[in-house]
């Protein structure tokens, strides 16, 4: 016969453990996944896993604004922050935006206004320049103009080394243009994993550490199976950003979802542990 334990020990369920720790967004860190959307009724790739986190980054290029129903479904997710990450093409001189970009913005803003009247989610807009876009002073005027016209917070993502010089960084800071930090393979000189530790808003995009296939086309390029040691490095980097910034957003990329989601969950766990340890101290 089975004996009955009269004084059972309290069982620590997963839910109970989570409820003890403060949610990440309450600590000023928005963690999330990114998702690419496609136009013309193609099956879009917004994963249900995105609802597990407090931020969603929506990737698109300037030729493909989302359809109204896609936009509506995106805005109905449980995340609190939505980020429009838009890859733009430059003109042949690679120093000016194509005229199609203005059209794209108008479409996006109109679509959003039609899709929902009351907007409760916080929205950010990232203008992502291609790696071939080199810095010139022409860009500065254009970026300021775009930022002033947009109803969202505005950041830029640039990868060419000409943007990372002290002179250009100082100019961007003086004009108040916020930037995205990247966590990418350590390809010295080609990709600069530089953080702006004076910015009030920090935005970190994790692109995997797959240096060997970095110049291959996606999905071979991105690899989100971070070993624990790399996750710890990223946690330290986020902690450094958090020391100065009021708000930190951390996004894991597009492909493949399962790996990115697993890495995001591990990152969340480690971040919560680090914060809890910090608070105990």
């Amino acid at each position: 016969m089975k004996s009955i334990d009269r004084n059972p020990k309290p069982v620590k369920t997963k839910a109970a453990r989570v409820s003890v720790l403060p949610p990440l967004y309450a600590q000023g860190i928005h963690l999330g996944l990114s998702s690419r959307i496609l136009k013309f009724g193609q099956k879009n790739k917004v994963s249900p896993s995105t609802d597990l986190f407090s931020a969603l980054e929506v990737n698109m290029d300037m030729y493909s604004p989302p359809q109204e129903n896609t936009l509506l479904s995106l805005l109905q997710g449980s995340y609190q922050r939505i980020i429009w990450h838009v890859e733009v093409s430059e003109l042949e001189d690679m120093k000016t935006l194509r005229p199609e970009f203005a059209l794209f913005l108008t479409q996006l803003i109109e679509l959003q206004a039609n899709a929902t009247k009351e907007q409760t989610k916080e929205q950010l807009f990232i203008l992502s320049l291609q790696p071939t876009a080199t810095y010139s002073d022409q860009w500065l005027d254009q970026l300021q103009q775009q930022r002033d016209n947009l109803p969202y917070s505005f950041l830029i993502e640039s990868t060419h080394r000409s943007w990372k010089t002290e002179r250009v960084q100082a100019k961007l800071k003086s004009t108040g243009i916020e930037q995205v930090s990247l966590d990418a393979p350590k390809l010295f000189g080609l990709i600069k994993n530089v953080d702006d530790l004076t910015a009030k808003r920090s935005y970190l995009r994790l692109l995997g550490r797959n240096s060997r296939d970095w110049f291959e086309a996606p999905p071979k390029k991105y690899e989100y199976q971070y070993p624990a040691a790399e996750i710890s490095e990223i946690v330290e980097r986020i902690q450094r950003l958090r020391e100065n910034a009021d708000d930190v957003t951390v996004i894991l990329g597009i492909h493949p979802f399962e790996d990115a989601c697993a890495a995001a969950q591990l990152l969340q766990k480690k971040l919560l542990a680090a914060i809890s340890k910090e608070q105990q101290c």
Partner: protein, 389 residues
Amino acid sequence: MSTYSPSVVHLDLDTFFVSVERILDPALERRPVIVGGNPFGRGVVAGCSYEARAYGVHSAQPIRLAYRLCPQAAFLHGNYVHYAQYSNLVKEILEELVPICEKSSVDEFYLDLSRCESLKGNAYKWAQEISRVVRGETHLPLSLGLATNKLVAKVATTQMAKQNALERHYAVDAGNEASFLSPFAVRALPGIGEVMEGKLEPYGIERLGQLAATPVQVLERLFGKTGRVLREKAQGIDHSQVIITREQKSYSREETFGEDSLDAQFIYQHLLKLSAQLGEDLRKGKVFSGKFALKLRYSDFTTVSRSTSCSYTNRDKDIYQLAEKLFRKLWTRRVRVRLIGIEANDLIDDIEQQMLFPDETEDNKCSVLDVIRNKYGKQVIGYAAAMAS
């Protein structure tokens, strides 16, 4: 009156391919590494580490022999995209630092620092500073030689700077060129290979000092004009200039139809033709492109364009597939098409072609087409599907 002497720097990226591979995979540090592909194949060694050289391995050696000499080495297939990216990066950094920069090969650069002393002070110190910046930014080891001309600067790099494990730079003072060169074997001089060395040996000319001292009439009688040139070189005389290399930023091909068309099949035929022409241009320029753009002009002169990034390529088939995909996305109006064009951007050197890495079938097909077109004209061969256009 002060005498003016030019200051030319030769900068060489040490074991370049291996250094890039070590950036990609730090586990290769301090191991013998051989770049060149399958150790049982028919290729040659494209690059090897100093650890592999200790076993007698060297560049251009059959890779099977390299395997016999050093079987414990890590044998790697060359990753030309990474090499080209790093080579371009070094060039970009150098162009920011010095006014005149010449890229002579994927891992060699000449810099002209002449007449900049008033701005930068001592040329040798400036050269060392350049070395520090490039090394700091790219983590690539490098050696450099400074002299009054390109030839002596190159010998200073290969014979002196590369041999010095601690300070990988060496300067030859103005006026000392001949005495600097004289103790080196004749093979140290760029332009003298195994064959010429064999021809000089029977006359007892083994050192550059001996070559410089040989009467010009004797050398001219033996080797013609080459004899005079070699003697001048052995004396450290070289008048070649450092030339600024400007690389083409993009390649494009476009075509306006004789009559505006709504026929998709007809447009695809022309796209294939343009893709083949663009592919040929890229291969001729020895470059790969990582970004293609398609331009489409409707009969009402509305022009739309769209670009896409891809893995680096210069194959006709890849270009056509991308162009076709872009065209499907771009042709959204039921309006006749007047013009189509394809542009290739984001170019990198085709080191695969330059270094004779093993070819694949598709590359071979393109190369054969190029050879036939070069020999018999552009119209003699093409893709059957494009012929109707």
